[in-house]
Symmetry: C2
Subunit: 100 residues, 2 copies
């Protein structure tokens, strides 16, 4: 399996970050990942269709929010929190600190 593509931290843009967070499913995935170290797609899908979840995970990867890697046939996802904090200090803390 080919590894997933992830943008370099210097190529991240605020517009793509905000687009990724403008959907309730994706915002929920980010909040869940922030409270853990890593999670499989099935732990994060909330029973939603696999096709729409693939799209959501791709948007999250393209925005630089989520890193996905293969572990056998499973996809393991984690938040790129340290890199996001380097790029935009304090921003993720403010976003994740807001009430749901």
């Amino acid at each position: 399996m080919r590894p997933f593509k992830h943008p370099a931290v210097e190529d991240l843009t605020l517009e793509r970050l905000f687009h990724a967070l403008s959907d309730p499913v994706r915002l929920d995935i980010v909040r869940t990942l922030a409270a853990t170290t890593a999670a499989t797609c099935s732990e994060l899908d909330g029973g939603r269709p696999k096709s729409s979840m693939s799209h959501h995970f791709r948007v999250l990867r393209d925005a630089g929010l989520v890193c996905t890697h293969h572990a056998g046939t499973t996809h393991i996802n984690s938040l790129r929190r340290a890199e996001l904090d380097t790029r935009w200090p304090g921003l993720m803390a403010a976003i994740l600190g807001t009430p749901r």
Copy 2:
């Protein structure tokens, strides 16, 4: 002229806020308004077509970011900063504090 509609602060959602900020033109309007008290549409349009700017201002109003009122034939826009700070303390400061 009918006044513009603005959502109540308790009806604002993070998803709509992030959608509004996911466009570089709208993010730029918000940054400009944050640095002033109020501005007319023509002061904020950067020479862009009026039709597309009407759309951007509507998205900004619907998200609760911007308040627009009539002053004769002019539209005056301001950031709803105090209300946004009440709804999501620290969030606008973190967003506006990020480098362009």
